[in-house]
């Protein structure tokens, strides 16, 4: 499967989706003006991945900030992985946050309330 490797900018995140190496990661900031335009290839990639997912997927969220327009798309991503999880494969979300980023921890907890995937919260050194 093709590898997605998008370099972040001041308003879009770094995204690495690599099935062969088992790397799934989104990091940085997400506040694009056109959320759908940025995330469309990512959502398409995940749809394709879902049809033949790895036995185990660990998805790392290392976001520093995301706007509310991005929050819905992040939920869409999580819902796609929820389907993979429900199909019997192992899926885990590693949600990273800094010690002073209570809001980011809370955001992770809110997603964990909505989707049925195991979440692990990882405290990053400041």
């Amino acid at each position: 499967m093709e590898v997605i490797n998008i370099k972040g900018t001041e308003d879009t995140p770094n995204v690495v989706l690599d099935k062969a190496n088992g790397t799934f990661e989104i990091s940085g900031r997400s506040l694009p003006e056109d959320v759908n335009h940025f995330y469309e290839p990512i959502l398409n990639w995940i749809d394709q991945y879902a049809s033949d997912a790895n036995a185990e997927t660990i998805f790392n969220f290392k976001l520093e900030y995301f706007n509310t327009a991005s929050s819905k798309v992040i939920l869409d991503i999580l819902l796609k992985f929820e389907e993979i999880f429900e199909s019997g494969k192992s899926v885990k979300i590693k949600w990273h946050y800094h010690e002073e980023e209570e809001d980011m921890l809370e955001a992770g907890e809110e997603y964990a309330d909505i989707v049925e995937i195991p979440f692990e919260y990882i405290l990053l050194p400041d």
Binding site: E10, D11, L31, P32, E33, V35, N36, Y65, N67, T68, A69, S71, K72, L75, H98, E100, E101, E102, D103, E106, E110, D113, I114, D126
Partner: protein, 189 residues
Amino acid sequence: MNSVKENQSFLDFAYQLYKTMKTNEISLVYEGEVTQEITKTFTSLTEKSLTKSAESNQVQRKVFNVMVECLQNISKHADTLSEDDEERRGIVMVSKGEESYNIITGNIIKNDKVAELQSTLETVNGLDKEGLSELYKKQIKEGRISDKGGAGLGLIDIAKKTGSKLTYQFKTLNEDRSFFILTSTIKRN
């Protein structure tokens, strides 16, 4: 003669503005078009000045978050004075008080949208932290976000992150339009 007088009064105005800005620690005042480029510029300017000011990371992040939501609300939802005007304009002001940062934004809104916005604001102000979190989850789950990315979610997010009530006002401009002013307050401690 007249223009000399005008120049003089403009200089007086500039000096008054400078003094007012200094006294109230206003770090940013803007009236004009609000685009993604403007949003990026203002948030990065404010971020830099906050980093210098030794404000806690948590406060810095909250100010950044709230500014993004307020500015994107204008760039996505502001109405214009006339139908053929396409620029989404607004005012933006950031001030620092003893206890808090205030982010004040204002934009034109059509009168027929005022009731709905007002009811969203009242709902948000009537909820505590837990209630806001429930409403936020409900709204992203139901996907009640337009292609523009609903303004309602932005307001819930601002209230959640600031822990303060949203202060707002609608000033009627004419029979079709009003000016909407929103103040978001971020406590410094």
